[in-house]
């Protein structure tokens, strides 16, 4: 294709229209997210759908979350061993792995794993339903698709991510303990008591409030991109990619603000 032909296919959008489109998307996302929560207080409640999604999201994500948690803890121990050893503080490795996993790495990495697996799944499933008129059919049959499809996914992701993060934290500590004892020659008992005793309530509150926020973001972003898919299979593919990118970026950026906010609210250690 000649350069001229290529350029003739590029559609120029005015900055005002671009800004309007972005603000409209933000408004639509906010409405969907708000409605998904408001539906918790309205009947009918789709308990069976919530359980089914909990199985798909929670149990389905278990292998990747456990593996990620284990190897994150293990590599954390390997990487920090040299630095700590230089100061004769190798025995503090349990504390380092424990605080890092519980406060940051557990929630963020588990969130990213679940976002990669489930935000894409939600966007592609709901996007396919949109382009094949199944969502219109559901509305035509008198059922609210947000209540039936979005709310169960939001509830399940929040609840399951909370428990997945706990498991991931534990597996991270376990991975660190395997490296500490097998490769660094530390005492197993010493590692675990140091890792356990260093944790304070602020760490747990910080580490366990993040999955609730991340779960909400993953599910609402995945559902939003799915529900706003346009243009056939190509549109579904685009929605899927955008859902993963947006939810991953949101997790990492919101993590900073949540950490800062919680430090202000409950103090830091």
């Amino acid at each position: 294709m000649a350069t001229g032909d290529f350029l003739s296919h590029i559609e120029l959008v005015s900055p005002l229209d671009f800004a309007k489109a972005k603000i409209r998307s933000l408004q639509e996302y906010s409405l969907l997210a708000g409605q998904s929560l408001a539906n918790l207080f309205r009947t009918p409640r789709y308990v069976a759908d919530i359980m089914q999604q909990a199985d798909l999201i929670g149990v389905g994500s278990l292998p990747i979350v456990l593996l990620t948690g284990f190897f994150t803890g293990a590599v954390l121990a390997v990487n920090t061993a040299a630095s700590l050893g230089r100061f004769g503080a190798l025995s503090l490795i349990g504390q380092l792995v424990s605080i890092s996993m519980v406060r940051e790495l557990g929630p963020v990495l588990t969130g990213l794993m679940v976002a990669g697996r489930n935000a894409s799944g939600m966007a592609s499933e709901l996007g396919s339903m949109i382009v094949t008129e199944q969502i219109d059919a559901m509305r035509a049959l008198g059922t609210d698709p947000i209540k039936k499809l979005v709310t169960p996914r939001v509830v399940s992701t929040i609840v399951m991510l909370f428990f997945l993060v706990i498991l991931s934290d534990f597996l991270g500590l376990f991975g660190g303990s395997v490296v500490s004892t097998a490769m660094l020659g530390l005492d197993w008992h010493q590692y675990w008591s140091s890792a356990w005793q260093t944790l304070v309530y602020q760490d747990l509150i910080t580490g366990l409030s993040k999955p609730v926020i991340f779960g909400f973001l993953i599910a609402t972003v995945g559902c939003y991109y799915g529900m706003s898919a346009k243009g056939g299979t190509q549109g579904v593919g685009k929605a899927t990619t955008e859902a993963v990118v947006a939810s991953s970026i949101l997790i990492i950026s919101v993590d900073f603000f949540v950490t800062r906010l919680l430090m202000l609210l409950i103090g830091y250690r």
Binding site: T132, R139, D144
Partner: protein, 280 residues
Amino acid sequence: MPTLPIETPSPPNVDATGAVVVFQDVAIAFEDNVVLDGVSFHLAPGETKALFGVAGTGKSTILKLVLGLIKPDSGEIYALGEKVTQMKEEDLFELRRRIGIVFQESALFDSLTVRENVAFRLMEESKIGEDEIERRVREALSFVELEHTLDLFPSELSGGMRRRVAIARAIITQPEVLLYDSPTGGLDPVTSNTIIELIVKQRDVYKTSSLLVTQRLQDAFTMATHCFERQSNRMVPLPPGTRGEVPMTFLILREGKVIFDGDAHELAHSRDEYIREFVS
């Protein structure tokens, strides 16, 4: 042919004009593309109105507007006595339960079995027991002669079977109005005829008002020249020369406007150049 369902529909709600669906000067555009421009018509109780027009003239849009799935830019729409254009989404769900629709590509839920698809509306109403749901699902599926497909998924069915399951899903609650969006599109003549017979059966046995979008004029003429005979449980031709025996009308759209609204006789004798070309 299977036996007919026992349940009969409740009489439809009508507005002051006696119509079940009314369009008054309805206009809608998608971005810069004007699809409907001042469309007005009404659908009488028990009447079947076939909507024609070349692709993109807004036939399917009309069906979505009746259900309030999309809102017009201007004009008023009434369905079963309710002003659709002023209703909120949550109020529309109640109205939609009284109207059935068969989508162009069937729009069956691909993660649900045929049984669950057909039962969807009943399962949403928690007060109906499982035995009752099962009985009505079998009844609706026997109406479309697909009782044996209960546990299959939509992907395991042919195009014609999917269309018939969509009809079963639409009629299971015996709605007061039925909307068919190209129910015979892309199907072979034999399967098309089966679907037309089912629509005629619904029209003549249950007197359900319906809007039928179709590209196939011959299907609508078959409906206008045949009626359903309950004794033999099949569609039979009307005696030659009879007119107005079946409640069937035609509406033709062109460039967003209604250019014809009348019965088969008026259509066949229209002097409008475009309509004559269309009919031929």
